[in-house]
Amino acid sequence: MTRTILVCCGTGCRANGGMDVSLALTAAVDAAAADANVCCVTETGCSGLCELGPLVRIMPDDIMYYRVRPSDAHDIIQKTVLESEPIERLLFKDSSGNHVLHQADNPFYGHQKKIALRNVGIIDSRSIDEYIAHGGYSALARALEMTSDEIIREVEESGIRGRGGAGFPTGRKWRSAAVLESSPKYVICNGDEGDPGAFMDGSIMDGDPHSVLEGMMIGALAIGAEEGFLYIRDEYIQAVKSMKKAIRAAEKRGLLGESILGTNRKLYFSVVRGGGAFVCGESTALMSSIEGNVGEPRAKYIHSVEKGLWGCPTVINNVETWANIPVIINGGGKKFAEIGTKDSTGTKVFALVGKVKYTGLVEVPMGITLRKLIFEIGGGIPNNRKFKAVQTGGPSGGCIPASLLDIPVDFDTLKEYGTMMGSGGMIVMDDHSCMVEFARYYVNFLCGESCGKCTPCREGLRHMRSILTNICNGYGREGDIELLEMIGSTMIDCSLCALGSSAPNPVLTTIRYFREEYEAHIREHRCPAGVCKALTAFSVNHAVCKGCMACTAVCPTRAIVQLNGGFPIITKSCNGCGSCRDVCRFNAIEAVKGGRV
């Protein structure tokens, strides 16, 4: 039997030594060549469960190995490939301790549904042949035989909404650009994923670049564009390389260039590297940046479908949206619309990170509950801690408390609760997180990312930051909460672009759901979560302490000493980092009111 060994070489696994594993496996295959079945090693994009990487999957047996080291290569070839025998120590163990052989039986993967990520982690992203072998470019061929109207009708019927943030219906966007007579027209792929902790789009560009290109090609056919740009975040070196290579490969095959697949349609794509600013993810700023100007947003009263890049009709969609398009054309819009909810069809890719057992890249049907996403797929909160909140939608997303874990994840519901889908960041927080500090952190981040063009965002963020910093430091005053709400409301209504109008979300949602935490900081000078250093001291509860000394080992200032059989914390030396509390398995270390103030 021909076997394929898929080695994950996505960003996460590469950082954990995925390339070395791949090399070791190739060497082991060579060494065993004499009596080996035909067997090839394929390096893939992110397979999802980065937390337990590097991942290795043997096909067609579908045996999935986790945390593989180069030293395991010999065993994998000798036992699994040659003797079809699984290696227990490399398998996933579920919550009841059973070994899980197949990917689909791992609860992390079981609840997922992959459309945008259909090939990511399965094919060698560098090979156009593999993409074609997996059905790639068949949608393009089909689209070439359809009229513009037919293509757009499928997209409209699919109900797909932009995956980049605003959730605007993609079909409607295309339609408005297609009806315009003027030329030239452009298509743009927004790959400027700037959210800290997000890697959805990067993973698609890295792991399945042709799906993005194919989507863009179909879009270009539909609206009548002959040129397209992929604006990719400058830090995504891998994605830039992978997309450039894919464009070259597509050109060689006659899929791009003078004549697409022998027809009289022309199409040229090029990669533009981002200016390194978060605000360039905003579509008008992005276009301004492609034009060679400062990446500042402009007023959007005339939509970019009418007057976009260089004043021409432009359709801009993000990476994930484009990657969905071939599936819609091949399977039909109706079929796509059956997935997800009525108003949010299809699936959404999330980067599940933070205080969750299995961090990684997941794709789930819209409408899944947060609880299922975090507890079943993500495996819940590590170290038996309590879930506190989840931030959705990136740095300017709001957070959702435990009481709302059962709401469905879709564009409109998230908005109703004060947050957003954004591009799909999902950061889970446990009870060692302070919500005021959380708001301060993101406001501070956004302060550095605001372009500074308009008053509400530039000035509002600056004052929000100083008010929040004061609260965290114990200098909060009565009226601060109301002032934050007032500034926030002006930012939402009056900011020029979406960065400013969504920036108050982290503040306003934490006030909405955790107001008492703000009040404790302001009125009692107490940080209930024990995070704000100025308000917190730590003490060891000796009734619970087992004397394991885990805390003494992690304390960076050696503030915990063994004294008369106990472990008192020397307040003078303690810098309030909280590491001891995080590491203690018996919850013997308690945060108490104290600190500087």
Partner: protein, 271 residues
């Protein structure tokens, strides 16, 4: 022609006309700071916000940039709008604590004094008008820079210093307006266009009998060589001449007219 209502008043306007212009024509007052009739709009101050209701949906837009494209209902002074204007002015007062223009507006609109620290800045509210003025009329315009570059090859007096004369520098909360590297600009001609449009008087211009200082640079005045009238700065005159492809003649318009009349008269023997 489109019929819209602003604060209940029915107004007629052309498609694409900006809401602010329509309101002004109908004597409806909307406050502005970063708007100038002669310069491209930027929508930075956000003071001119109004509520627009279109097919049942209400949104807040800036009137200086919003093009009228269909039948809409506009409200310029709802509670929501007034509250936002107050907040915007209150925020600007913290940005520009030394500006009496802003202080007066705050008083007039009843903007609260926010209990937050002021910026240690001066009067600038970062409206961007000065940059746009310089880009359009001054030495900062792209067309001019291209021309200067060409002229530089032919021994032009004004070296071309990279970007523009003045620009919005840095981004976000640390944005300022300045010359490249905060040094006196090489290509500024001292025309004062930037200072003329500045709503807060941030750009200081000092003038003596013989010259003008702006952006940390001194400019000599030029006078009409016939009648002695002030023409502007020396650089300004040379720059204007170069832009129109002539040699500077240092004449005021009246004397120039007289001279050409004389020159024309001569061949006809009327002298």
């Amino acid at each position: 022609m489109i019929q819209i209502t602003i604060d209940g008043v029915s107004c007629t306007c052309k498609k694409g006309e900006k809401l602010l212009a329509v309101a002004r024509r109908n004597n409806i007052f909307i406050p502005t700071l970063c708007h100038h009739d002669g310069l491209p709009g930027m929508g930075s101050c956000r003071l001119c916000v109004v509520e627009v209701t279109e097919s049942g949906r209400t949104k807040v837009v800036v009137s200086c940039l919003y093009p009228v494209r269909g039948e809409i209902e506009v409200v310029t002074n709802s509670e929501r709008i007034l509250a936002h204007r107050k907040m915007i002015l209150a925020l600007l007062r913290k940005r520009a604590p030394k500006s009496d223009v802003i202080a007066h507006m705050c008083e007039a609109f009843g903007a609260p004094d926010l209990p937050v620290a002021s910026f240690d800045g001066g009067k600038c509210i970062l409206c961007g008008l000065c940059v746009r003025a310089c880009d359009l009329i001054g030495a900062g315009s792209v067309a001019t820079r291209t021309l200067l570059k060409k002229l530089a090859g032919q021994g032009c007096a004004y070296p071309v210093a990279g970007a523009g004369v003045i620009a919005m520098v840095s981004r976000g909360t640390t944005k300022t307006v300045s010359t490249p590297y905060d040094e006196p600009s090489e290509i500024c001609i001292g025309c004062g266009g930037c200072a003329n449009v500045c709503p807060t008087g941030e750009i200081t211009v000092t003038e003596t009998e013989t010259g003008r200082t702006i952006w940390g640079k001194e400019f000599k005045f030029a006078f009409c060589k016939e009648c002695g009238e002030l023409l502007g700065t020396d650089k300004e005159v040379r720059y204007a001449a170069q832009r129109s492809g002539r040699d500077p003649d240092f004449l005021c318009p009246a004397c120039r007219q007289k001279r050409s009349a004389d020159a024309m008269a001569e061949p006809f023997g009327r002298r």
